[in-house]
C-alpha cells in the first residue's frame, strides 16, 4: 500500500531550495529537508521523493492510525499543520497513487484491484510528469487522450511498435508499478554546534571552542575519506543575530589545526560588528568532498603543503586585504602601468626554458599614484619647467625632452574611477613625455588632455 503526497506549490519550494543551493546555504539546518519530505518522515522511513511528489510506503500503518482513509487524512492534517495544502492518494501501487495524487485534489483512496479503473479517465499528459522519456507526440497522433485509451491497446502490438518503453507506459496506464520504491537515504551531515554557558568575546576563547567542534568532525571525515571543501562558521551573538562566514579551501583538507587557524584568520579579517561581539553559540558546518590522495615523489622539488600555503595566504590576506594578495600580471591594454593581481597557484612543473623578455636598458620606477606636478609648457605643449610639492620629487628646468607619446583608451568607460572598468579605472587620454631636469632627475610625466593637468608618472633611473 502506498500513499502519495503532492503539493501543488511544491515547485516553488523546490525553486527556493535551488536558489538556496546557488547561494551555498544548502546545508543549513533549516533548509535541509523540504516541508513535504518532513511530512513523509513523520509517517515512515520508507519514502521516495520524485520531483514534485513524495511516495510513502504505508504498509503496517493501519495498526497505528486505522484504515487507509484515516492514514490519508492524517497525512493531509500533518501537512496542513506545516502550512502545506496537499493532494493525498492511497493505492495498492505507487503509480496509481502518484497519478491520482497529481490529478485529483483532496484525498483519494483506491481499493486494491481497482487501480486501472480509477486512473483510466486521467489525461495521458500525466505520464509526462512521471516519466520524462514519454513520447507523448506519438500517442497524441494515435488519438489517445486518456490513460484508459492507452491501457486499452493490446500490449503485444504496442511492444512491437514502441518496444519495452511502450510496455512500461502501458503498464503505468493500467496503474501497475514498473519499478520498486527506492527509499531516500539522508545524506550524512557534518555539523557540530556548541551552546556556551557564558558568552565569550575575542578570538582566543573562540579558538578553543572551534578546536572542540572540529576534532570530532575531522575524525568522522577521516573515517569516510572525506575532506573539507567549504567550512561554514556560524556565530550566534548575544544580540540574537547570527553571524556566518564561509571559507572555501583550495584543496580538500581535514587538519584541525589548519582549519581552526584559517577560520580564525578569516574572522580576524572580517569580524562581526564592533558593538556585538559576545558569542553564545558556535556552529560549524562542513561541505565534504572526496579526500585528497597525496603521493610524494623523489624527483620533484619539495614545496609547501597546501595547508601551509593556505595558512600563509590567509595570514597575508588578513593583514593586507584579500584583493592585494597574489602575483601581478600585465593586462592586455595600452593603459600605462595597468596590472592586476592573480591568485597564487602552486605550479609544480615549470617550463624547461621559460622565454624571458629582454631586460630594458634602464629601469622605470613607476609611482603607484601619479604625483601632481606644476609644469610650464611651450605653445606645442612641450614641458619647460617641472615642480612638485611632493617630498622626494625635486623640480627644475627641463633640459631634454622626448615625446609626446599619445595614448588613450577605455573611452567607453565614462566618469570617475569608482565607476569601475578594467582595473577599476575610467577611460584615459594623455600625452607622455620623458624629461631630463636640471637637477639631474629624469621623469616620465604626462598631461591629461581633457583637464590639462600634469603628473609625474615614473622616475627613470
Amino acid at each position: 500500500m502506498f500513499a502519495c503526497v503532492y503539493s501543488p506549490g511544491y515547485d516553488d519550494h523546490r525553486k527556493a531550495r535551488e536558489a538556496r543551493k546557488e547561494n551555498n546555504i544548502e546545508n543549513s539546518a533549516s533548509s535541509a529537508c523540504s516541508a513535504v519530505t518532513v511530512v513523509a518522515q513523520q509517517f515512515s522511513p520508507r519514502y521516495e521523493t520524485r520531483g514534485d511528489l513524495v511516495v510513502i510506503d504505508v504498509r503496517g500503518l493501519d495498526r497505528l492510525f486505522g484504515d487507509a482513509r484515516t492514514i490519508a487524512e492524517e497525512l493531509r492534517r500533518e501537512a496542513a499543520d506545516r502550512g502545506l495544502r496537499v493532494h493525498v492518494a492511497i493505492a495498492a501501487t505507487q503509480t496509481a497513487a502518484a497519478v491520482l495524487a497529481i490529478a485529483r485534489p483532496g484525498v483519494v483512496v483506491v481499493e486494491r484491484g481497482k487501480e486501472a479503473e480509477a486512473i483510466a479517465p486521467v489525461s495521458l499528459q500525466i505520464l509526462g510528469v512521471l516519466d520524462v522519456a514519454l513520447q507523448i507526440e506519438i500517442l497524441k497522433r494515435w488519438g489517445l487522450k486518456t490513460l484508459g485509451d492507452l491501457a486499452a491497446l493490446p500490449a503485444d502490438e504496442l511492444s512491437a511498435r514502441l518496444g519495452q518503453q511502450g510496455l512500461a507506459w502501458h503498464a503505468m496506464a493500467r496503474g501497475a508499478d514498473v519499478r520498486p520504491l527506492v527509499p531516500d537515504v539522508e545524506a550524512e551531515r557534518f555539523e557540530a554546534s556548541l551552546d556556551l554557558e557564558w558568552p565569550i568575546e575575542g578570538l582566543e576563547p573562540l579558538s578553543f571552542v572551534l578546536t572542540r567542534l572540529l576534532e570530532p568532525l575531522s575524525l568522522r571525515l577521516e573515517q569516510r575519506d572525506r575532506g573539507v571543501a567549504v567550512l561554514h562558521v556560524q556565530l550566534r551573538l548575544v544580540t540574537k543575530e547570527t553571524y556566518a562566514r564561509r571559507l572555501e579551501l583550495p584543496t580538500p583538507m581535514r587538519d584541525v589545526k589548519t582549519l581552526r587557524t584559517l577560520a580564525l584568520l578569516d574572522l580576524e579579517a572580517h569580524p562581526p560588528s564592533a558593538d556585538a561581539i559576545a558569542i553564545d553559540r558556535v556552529t560549524v558546518v562542513i561541505d565534504p568532498t572526496p579526500g585528497r590522495v597525496w603521493q610524494h615523489t623523489l624527483f620533484a622539488r619539495p614545496h609547501p603543503t597546501p595547508e601551509q600555503l593556505s595558512t600563509l595566504l590567509a595570514r597575508l590576506g588578513a593583514a593586507m586585504g584579500q584583493d592585494r594578495i597574489g602575483a601581478p600580471v600585465l593586462l592586455d591594454t595600452y593603459r600605462p602601468g595597468a596590472f592586476a593581481m592573480k591568485p597564487f597557484a602552486t605550479v609544480h612543473d615549470h617550463p624547461a626554458h621559460p622565454a624571458f623578455p629582454a631586460l630594458p636598458a634602464s629601469a622605470l620606477r613607476r609611482c603607484r599614484q601619479p604625483v601632481p606636478a606644476r609644469v610650464v609648457a611651450d605653445a606645442d605643449g612641450r614641458p619647460l619647467k617641472i615642480t612638485s610639492d611632493r617630498r622626494g620629487f625635486a623640480g627644475g628646468a627641463v633640459l631634454h625632452t622626448s615625446g609626446p607619446w599619445k595614448t588613450s583608451g577605455d573611452w567607453w568607460i565614462d566618469g570617475p574611477a569608482e565607476k569601475a572598468g578594467r582595473a577599476g579605472q575610467a577611460g584615459w587620454d594623455r600625452d607622455e613625455w620623458d624629461v631630463a631636469l636640471s637637477d639631474g632627475a629624469s621623469y616620465r610625466v604626462f598631461v591629461e588632455r581633457g583637464t590639462q593637468r600634469w603628473f609625474i608618472d615614473a622616475i627613470l633611473d
Binding site: I138, R141, G143, L144, R161, W405, D414
Partner: protein, 1086 residues
C-alpha cells in the same frame, strides 16, 4: 606640401571607419590636391571615391593594401628543414614552429597597366580562396607589377621572416628600384622612432627613397570609437576584451598637410617626396579600359548593319502591318544606336534572348527597355512602344552618354541559373561576373553589433535589435529614444548615449559584399583587368567588387537576368496545358497550342475577373491594396491594367494621386490639367501624372528640356538626392517654364507634382511589361485554372498568399484536388486525367527532396509499407508524417491505422532480418511479405479513426494546407448563432452596418504609407474579409493581432464601389471548436 598616399576607407570592411566621400570631403577641406585610397585587398570603394574626388576637385589616386603570405613552398621547406635538423641533433625544438601571419603591402597605381595588374592580382588572390579570405605570395607578384608602386613599411623589419632587409631586396627585384618606396608613419607611439630609423637605414642601404604617410583609417579623430567598435566586430569580441587589438590612440586620422609637415620636420624629403610620387601617379579611373564584347557578325557585315537587318526582319514579324510610325521610330532608334556604337550591346542581349528561346526558357525584357521599338522588334520585350506611345528617351539618349539598361525577366530557379551559366560559359569565368551588392549596417544589424561591442546584455540586445526598424512604418514617435526606452534603456545614461551615438554613426557603413540578384557584367577580353573578381558564397558564381550603381557609374555594361516566380509559373502552366492529351479543360474551342505571345487580347473573362477583384494568385494585382482598387478602377482594356499595376505604388500614394484618378474615372470630379499644354501628355491618365515618362514629357513640354535633361531631372530626384543638383535643376525648370509663359501658381503646381512624384514614380514601360504578365496570369486563371494553380503551387514561395489560400481559392473556382498519395503523387503537383490537381510530395513537411523524388520515380506500386521504406529509405519522422496526412491511405488504411502500422514498419528489424533489404528481396520473399501484409490489413487497428477536425489539424501540421473543408466551416453553425457573418455575406451587406466576422489570418500588413494602420486578411470557407485596424487599436491588442491564428472581429462594414472591408473596433482570438491546434503561419508584411 604633403599628399596623403595611404588612406583606407570603410570599404576595407571593418578596417576603416569613414566612407570614401567623407574622406574626400575632409581632404578637400584641408586643401589636399590629391588623395590615395588603399583599401584592403580590393578596390571596393574606388568608384565612389573617384566620383566624390572629381566633384570635390581632389585628384583621386587608386591603390590597395595587399595581404601577402610567405610562399607556401618556402614555409613547407622551412618546416621540413627544422624537422630534419631536430632529428640530427637529437635536441627537441624549444618552441613550436608558429605559423607566420600575413603582412600587408600597400601598392599604388601609376598607370592603367598598373591598375590592370592590381585588379588581376586581387582576382588571383580572391579566386583561389573562400569568400573573404586569401593572400598573395611574393611569387605571385613576379612579372605582374608593371605600373604599380610599392610602399614597404614596418613589415620589412620582420627579420625572422625575410632576413635583414630581405623583403626590400625581394621587392626591389620584383618591382624595380624606382618603384619601391619605404614608408614611414608617425602615430606618437613609443618605439616607432626606432622602427622608422631602421627603415630609413634600410632605404639608404638599398638606395630606395623614403616617403611619409599617415596610415589613415578614419577622417577625423572623432571616428576613433567607431573604428574600435569595427575592430571588435572584426575580431568577434567586445571592447572590454579586445585589449591591444584596439587602436592605442586616435592618431590614424587624416591630418592637415601642415601638421604632417611639422610631424616629419626632421625628414622634409620624405614629405616632399609625397608630391613627387603623386606627380608620377597619373592614373585615374577615367579610363578603365573596359569594352563591351563584340558580337560576331557574318562576313561583310558590321554590327550596326547586322542589327539593322535583324531589326527589320523582326519588325516585319512584329508589326503587321509594318506601319510608318513604327518604321520611323525604329529608324530613329537605330540611328542613335549606331551613333552611340551600341549595336553590339543590343546584339548580345538579343543573343541571350535567343538562347532562352532555343532552350524553351520564357524570357521578357522589362524596365525602360520596353520603351524601345528596336527591343520590341528583336523580341527582347513584349510591349509595343509605338502603340503605347512610350518615350524612347527614358531608355536611351545621346546627352546622357550612358549605356542603356536592359533587364530580362526569366523564370526563377534552375532555368534562370542555366542562362547565367550560359553567359559564364560563353564569355569565360574571367569575362563575365555578377555585380555585387554592398550590404550596409542598418537599424537592426547596427544595434546588434554596437550592443555586443559595448557589452550590453544579450537579451537586451535582442530586444533592441527587434524594435529597431521592425516595422516598415515609422511614425513621428518612432525615434531612437523611444526604441531605447521600450527595451528599458534610459537615454540619460552615459552608456546608452554612447550606444545611440555609435549606432547613428554606423548607419550605412559597408558590412560585407553580397551578390546582386541578377545583374551581370560582361567584357571584351578579361573582366579581371577592369575590376577585381571574387568568388561568391554560392558555388559557380563569380562577382565583381562593385555594386550595380558603381558599375553603371564606371561605364560598365550590365544585363540584369532577374528571376521571376510568375514567369516560371506561367511557363509551367503552359507546359501543362499544351502537353495534356486533348486539352479537355480548354473552353475557348482552340485546338492549337496556347502561346504567351498569342493570347487573345481583351478577353472579357479576364476583365470580369479583374473588376470583381478575384485576383488571388495573379501577378502584381493580387495584394490587398490592389484588390481594394480594382472594383473602383474597373479595368476594361489593357492600358487599364498598366495603370492598375502602377497606381498602387508609393509614388502615386504619397503624391495623393490615387483618389483623384479614381474619382475622375468614376466621373465624380472633372478632368483638369496643370496647364493646357500638358493635356496630350496627361490625357490618358485623366490629368493625373502616374508614370515617370509623363514626368519627363512634362519637363520637355513645359520647360523645354531635352530628353536627356529630363532624364537627368528624374535621376536627380531619385533616392540619392543631391540638394545642390536639385536646386540647379529646379531653377532650370522654372526658367524653362517662364520661357514658355508658365509661371505663378501653375508653375508651382507642376513643380510640386514633379517633386512629390519623382522619388517613387514607376516607368510606364515597366508597368506595361508587368501588365502583360498580369494579363497572362489572369487569362490562364480564367481559362485553365487547374494548370494555373498547379503551376503556382509548384513555384512557391512566390506572390502574396500562402499556398493554403491558393488551394482554397482554386476550390472556390471549382478546381478539384486529390490528396498526396505515395503511390500516385510526383514530387511536384500534377494535373491528372480527370482534370483535378494531385498534390505533390513537395508539400510534405520535412520530407527530404531526394527521397520524395525517389518515391515519385518508383512507378511500380509499393506492395506494402515495408516495401516503401526499403525502396526509398524513408526515415521514421517522414513516414509518420506521410501516414498522418493520409498519403498512405492507398494501402487500404485510414490515417490512424497507417500511423499504427508506420510505427512498426520503421522499427529496427533485428539481426534475423537484417539481410532482407530491397536488393535481396526474392519473389518468394515478396509473396510472403504480401501475404503478411494482407493479414495485417485484415487485423483491425485498435485506434479510432480521425475526426474531420483532427484530419484538418493533421493536414496543416503535415502540409501547411488542407484540401478538405476550411477549418472555419467546422464552426460555422456555432459562429452563426454568435452573429458572425461569412466573408461572402459582406458583399451584400449595407455600408456602415455593424458586423462581426471571424476567420483564419492569412496576411498581416503594416505598409509604410498607411500612417500606422494595419491591414488583416481573414479567410473563411467562403472567401476573404479585409480588416482595417486603427493604430491605437493595434497598439492595444498587438499581441492578439500578431500571434493569434484565428480572430474574431467586431467592426463597421465599409462597402463602397464593390470594395468591402471591416473597420475593426474590437478584436479577440478565436479559440475552441477542435481546430485551435491548426498550425498556420500567416504572411506578414511589416
Amino acid at each position: 606640401m604633403y599628399v596623403e598616399l595611404h588612406c583606407a576607407s570603410a570599404f576595407s570592411f571593418l578596417q576603416g571607419a569613414s566612407l570614401p566621400e567623407i574622406l574626400i570631403d575632409r581632404a578637400a577641406e584641408l586643401g589636399y590636391p590629391a588623395l590615395a585610397l588603399l583599401d584592403r585587398d580590393g578596390v571596393y570603394g574606388a568608384p565612389r571615391f573617384h566620383k566624390a574626388a572629381l566633384s570635390a576637385g581632389v585628384r583621386p589616386i587608386i591603390g590597395a593594401e595587399l595581404a601577402l603570405n610567405l610562399e607556401a613552398g618556402r614555409a613547407g621547406r622551412a618546416g621540413r628543414e627544422d624537422r630534419r635538423g631536430s632529428a640530427s641533433s637529437a635536441i627537441p625544438p624549444v618552441l613550436p614552429i608558429q605559423p607566420i601571419p600575413p603582412f600587408v603591402l600597400p601598392v599604388l597605381c601609376e598607370s592603367q597597366e598598373g591598375y590592370r595588374n592590381l585588379c588581376r592580382l586581387v582576382t588571383r588572390m580572391k579566386m583561389r580562396a573562400p569568400k573573404g579570405e586569401g593572400a598573395l605570395t611574393l611569387d605571385d607578384l613576379e612579372g605582374a607589377t608593371s605600373g604599380l608602386v610599392a610602399l614597404v613599411g614596418r613589415s620589412a623589419l620582420a627579420g625572422h621572416q625575410f632576413g635583414v632587409g630581405g623583403l626590400v631586396d625581394r621587392l626591389v627585384g620584383i618591382f624595380g628600384r624606382d618603384r619601391v618606396y619605404v614608408e614611414v608613419q608617425r602615430h606618437f607611439r613609443r618605439g616607432e622612432q626606432t622602427d622608422n630609423q631602421m627603415l630609413v637605414d634600410l632605404a639608404s642601404a638599398f638606395h630606395v627613397p623614403v616617403v611619409a604617410t599617415g596610415g589613415v583609417r578614419f577622417a577625423t579623430p572623432d571616428s576613433r570609437p567607431l573604428f574600435d567598435v569595427l575592430t571588435c566586430i572584426h575580431h568577434h569580441t567586445d571592447l572590454a576584451r579586445a585589449g591591444r587589438r584596439l587602436a592605442p590612440n586616435a592618431e590614424r586620422y587624416l591630418k592637415p598637410p601642415s601638421e604632417m609637415a611639422a610631424l616629419f620636420a626632421d625628414m622634409p624629403d620624405a614629405v616632399a617626396r609625397t608630391c613627387e610620387l603623386t606627380d608620377r601617379l597619373q592614373y585615374t579611373m577615367a579610363d578603365l579600359g573596359y569594352r563591351f564584347p563584340d558580337y560576331p557578325v557574318p562576313q561583310g557585315e558590321t554590327q550596326a548593319t547586322f542589327l539593322r537587318k535583324i531589326a527589320e526582319v523582326g519588325a516585319r514579324e512584329r508589326y503587321r502591318p509594318y506601319h510608318d510610325r513604327a518604321r520611323a521610330q525604329i529608324a530613329r532608334e537605330l540611328d542613335l544606336i549606331e551613333k552611340l556604337e551600341l549595336a553590339g550591346y543590343f546584339l548580345i542581349v538579343w543573343d541571350i534572348v535567343n538562347f532562352c528561346r532555343q532552350h524553351d526558357i520564357l524570357v521578357q525584357g522589362r524596365g525602360s527597355a520596353a520603351n524601345s521599338a528596336v527591343c520590341y522588334s528583336l523580341g527582347i520585350t513584349a510591349v509595343d512602344p509605338v502603340k503605347m506611345e512610350l518615350l524612347f528617351e527614358r531608355f536611351l539618349s545621346e546627352e546622357r552618354g550612358e549605356w542603356p539598361d536592359i533587364d530580362l525577366d526569366l523564370p526563377s530557379g534552375d532555368r534562370r541559373e542555366r542562362v547565367i551559366q550560359h553567359v559564364y560559359e560563353k564569355y569565360g569565368r574571367l569575362g563575365a561576373a555578377m555585380t555585387a551588392n554592398v550590404i550596409t549596417y542598418r537599424g537592426r544589424s547596427a544595434a546588434r553589433e554596437v550592443g555586443k561591442a559595448l557589452g550590453i546584455e544579450e537579451t537586451q540586445i535582442d530586444r533592441l535589435a527587434k524594435v529597431m526598424g521592425h516595422f516598415e512604418f515609422r511614425d513621428q514617435h518612432d525615434t531612437l529614444p523611444k526604441h531605447l526606452s521600450t527595451v528599458g534603456l534610459d537615454l540619460d545614461s552615459d552608456r546608452v548615449r554612447l550606444f545611440a551615438k555609435l549606432w547613428h554613426e554606423m548607419q550605412d557603413l559597408p558590412r560585407h559584399l553580397g551578390q546582386h540578384s541578377g545583374g551581370m557584367v560582361i567584357c571584351q577580353g578579361q573582366l579581371d583587368a577592369v575590376v577585381p573578381l571574387e568568388n561568391a558564397t554560392m558555388p559557380g558564381r563569380v562577382v565583381v567588387q562593385w555594386d550595380k550603381d558603381d558599375c553603371a557609374e564606371m561605364g560598365i555594361v550590365k544585363v540584369d537576368l532577374l528571376g521571376l516566380g510568375m514567369m516560371a509559373a506561367l511557363q509551367d502552366a503552359l507546359t501543362i496545358v499544351n502537353t495534356r492529351q486533348d486539352g479537355r479543360e480548354r473552353q475557348d474551342g482552340q485546338n492549337g497550342r496556347v502561346d504567351l505571345a498569342h493570347l487573345p487580347p481583351d478577353d472579357p473573362d479576364v476583365y470580369e475577373m479583374l473588376q470583381a477583384a478575384d485576383t488571388i494568385g495573379l501577378f502584381q494585382v493580387e495584394s490587398r491594396a490592389q484588390m481594394a482598387t480594382l472594383p473602383r478602377l474597373k479595368p476594361t482594356c489593357f492600358y487599364d491594367i498598366v495603370v492598375q499595376v502602377a497606381i498602387i505604388r508609393p509614388g502615386p500614394i504619397v503624391g495623393q494621386m490615387v483618389h483623384p484618378y479614381l474619382n475622375r474615372r468614376a466621373g465624380r470630379e472633372p478632368v483638369v490639367y496643370p496647364h493646357p499644354s500638358l493635356e496630350p501628355v496627361l490625357k490618358r491618365t485623366l490629368g493625373v501624372p502616374l508614370f515617370q515618362e509623363q514626368l519627363l514629357r512634362i519637363a520637355m513640354i513645359a520647360a523645354g528640356f531635352t530628353g536627356g535633361q529630363a532624364e537627368d531631372l528624374r535621376r536627380a530626384m531619385g533616392f540619392k538626392r543631391s540638394e545642390k543638383r536639385m536646386r540647379k535643376l529646379e531653377s532650370q525648370l522654372r526658367e524653362g517654364m517662364a520661357g514658355n509663359g508658365i509661371d505663378g501658381e501653375e508653375a508651382e503646381k507642376i513643380i510640386t507634382a514633379i517633386m512629390s512624384f519623382a522619388l517613387y514614380g514607376f516607368p510606364e514601360s515597366h508597368a506595361a511589361s508587368f501588365a502583360l504578365l498580369a494579363y497572362a496570369s489572369a487569362y490562364l486563371k480564367a481559362h485553365y485554372p487547374a494548370a494555373f494553380y498547379c503551376a503556382l503551387l509548384n513555384n512557391q514561395p512566390m506572390g502574396f498568399y500562402h499556398p493554403s489560400t491558393l488551394v482554397k481559392d482554386a476550390q472556390r473556382r471549382g478546381v478539384r484536388f486529390h490528396p498526396i498519395d505515395v503511390q500516385l503523387s510526383d514530387w511536384n503537383c500534377t494535373v491528372e486525367e480527370d482534370g483535378a490537381i494531385r498534390l505533390g510530395l513537395r508539400y510534405v513537411s520535412g520530407l527530404r527532396e531526394e527521397v520524395g523524388k525517389t518515391i515519385a520515380l518508383c512507378r511500380v506500386r509499393f506492395s506494402s509499407l515495408d516495401d516503401l521504406v526499403n525502396r526509398t529509405g524513408l526515415r521514421r519522422a517522414e513516414l509518420v508524417t506521410l501516414a498522418d496526412i493520409g498519403a498512405l491511405n492507398s494501402f487500404g488504411y485510414d490515417r490512424r491505422s497507417a500511423l499504427w502500422q508506420a510505427e512498426q514498419a520503421v522499427r529496427p528489424a533485428g539481426e534475423l532480418f537484417t539481410d532482407m533489404t530491397a536488393t535481396t528481396f526474392t519473389a518468394e520473399h515478396a509473396e510472403h511479405a504480401e501475404k503478411l501484409f494482407l493479414e495485417e490489413l485484415t487485423s483491425a487497428s485498435p485506434l479510432k479513426p480521425m475526426t474531420e477536425a483532427e484530419r484538418i489539424v493533421a493536414d496543416y501540421a503535415g502540409t501547411r494546407l488542407t484540401i478538405g473543408r476550411h477549418p472555419m466551416a467546422l464552426r460555422r453553425d456555432e459562429l452563426a448563432t454568435r452573429g458572425v457573418s461569412r466573408a461572402i455575406d459582406l458583399r451584400t451587406a449595407r455600408n456602415g452596418r455593424r458586423v462581426r466576422v471571424a476567420g483564419m489570418v492569412i496576411t498581416r500588413q503594416r505598409p509604410g504609407t498607411a500612417k500606422g494602420f494595419v491591414f488583416l486578411t481573414l479567410e473563411d470557407e467562403t472567401g476573404v474579409a479585409n480588416i482595417i485596424v486603427r493604430p491605437d487599436l493595434f497598439l492595444r491588442d498587438r499581441l492578439v493581432i500578431t500571434d493569434e491564428p484565428f480572430l474574431l472581429v467586431d467592426g463597421v462594414l465599409q462597402n463602397q464601389d464593390g470594395v468591402t472591408s471591416v473597420r475593426a473596433e474590437r478584436i479577440a482570438g478565436l479559440h475552441g471548436g477542435g481546430v485551435q491546434d491548426v498550425e498556420f503561419d500567416a504572411h506578414d508584411f511589416y
